[in-house]
Amino acid sequence: MAYHSGYGAHGSKHRARAAPDPPPLFDDTSGAYSSQPGGYPAPGADVAFSVNHLLGDPVASVAMAYGSSIASHGKDMVHKELHRFVSMNKLKYFFAVDTAYVAKKLGLLVFPYTHQNWDVQPSRDVPVPPRQDLNAPDLYIPTMAFITYVLLAGMALGIQKRFSPEVLGLCASTALVWVVMEVLALLLGAYLATVRSDLSIFHLLAYSGYKYVGMILSVLTGLLFGSDGYYVALAWTSSSLMYFIVRSLRTAALGPDNMGGPAPRQRLQLYLTLGAAAFQPLIIYWLTFHLVR
């Protein structure tokens, strides 16, 4: 079987290559593909290789090789499509955070009133990552807050009735729909007001995702302290969130335009920012009150 011997030779080449350094047991998949720009290795190959020892039967190993090549082919196709829509480097910028930044940002979301300097550091070539600039938006906090909110909602509903994993799926899809609708509304508003700024869709996603932190806090206090605690927490987090968004977006949206924009356009942008901010407590209330019945 020519195919099998070819595959076997491939395997022995791996063994020969492994001899100089301390023998790794399976293939080092993450290292082998580092030359690729995206660095996405296909794990199908090493699993196939290790299972090959179990299957002495040549036909099965042929099938395994074919299957793994199809798997890696499919994976490459998925990555190519993904790269066409989402630029990985721009997305990576939003996740370059560390623990100190996250802690300070969460503190800022809950108590923004004493923060003095809201300007994002000016970008020369590459925007300053959130690690070094507290005012830069990030996507880690909104993503984690969203997932935590879904789990918390599932748990809250489960405490009231019986917990079942279908409830989790329902909460997840509801919240996702709301996120999509809000981002679309913000995009529409920005387009109509012809806001010319560097607010990409990821910025909008980040700022609209920050309210999930407030939602989580409100639901938690509602669960712990009853519905009075819920309304107190709701009022506090809504007001701090509104303050936070207005201060951050004012510098981000109006910054580059400050010199040349005509007055009515600036006022329109201000109204847009205020409207977006005022919209947040409504959404927070809408998405959480049924959890703290």
């Binding site: 047991l25 993450s30 794990p43 699993v47 179990l54 996740f95 984690m144 019986r162």
Partner: protein, 164 residues
């Protein structure tokens, strides 16, 4: 007769999970092996079955989604990339303390205060060792808590399935 399953490596990785305070070696995750995690997943499902919860499909579904999510997050957060097999392998190994929890749930019910404290402790243990292995293998500094939090969410869902 070489089966391609190195018991010594599996044992080494298991020890790393079981000693959460010991610093992990970054190179142990160079070999992606799914045999250990498979065994742990099956053991977890078996203990759930013993406790009377026939929710095996949910365990698989949630672990698949969770692995996918961790894979995307780690690729976005680290400088070097990470392979899906590596993520699945680490998460599967750190499921070991969760098996202890679900075997407890067979005998005692976990819905009291003791159960909640025990569950919280075990979730913390799992996520701490998972994040420790991830940051040593991917050389991410200052992000251990950030990696531990999504792991805690994932293991929290598993714990929810064990409790309720």
């Amino acid at each position: 007769l070489e089966l391609g399953i190195n018991f010594d490596h599996i044992w080494q990785k298991t020890l790393t999970v079981l000693h959460p305070l010991k610093v992990a070696d970054g190179s142990i995750m160079n070999e992606t092996d799914l045999a250990g995690p498979m065994v742990f997943c099956l053991a977890f499902g078996a203990t759930l079955l013993l406790a009377g919860k026939i929710q095996f499909g949910y365990v698989y579904g949630i672990s698949a989604i969770g692995c996918l999510g961790m894979f995307c997050l780690l690729n976005l957060m680290s400088m070097t990339g990470v392979s899906f097999g590596c993520v699945a392998s680490v998460l599967g190994y750190c499921l070991l303390p969760m098996i202890l929890l679900s075997s407890f749930a067979v005998i005692f019910s976990l819905q009291g205060m003791v159960g909640i404290i025990l569950t919280a402790g075990i979730i913390g243990w799992c996520s701490f060792s998972a994040s420790k292995i991830f940051i040593s293998a991917l050389a991410m500094e200052g992000q251990q808590l950030l990696v531990a939090y999504p792991c805690a969410l994932l293991y929290g869902v598993f714990a929810l399935i064990s409790i309720f």
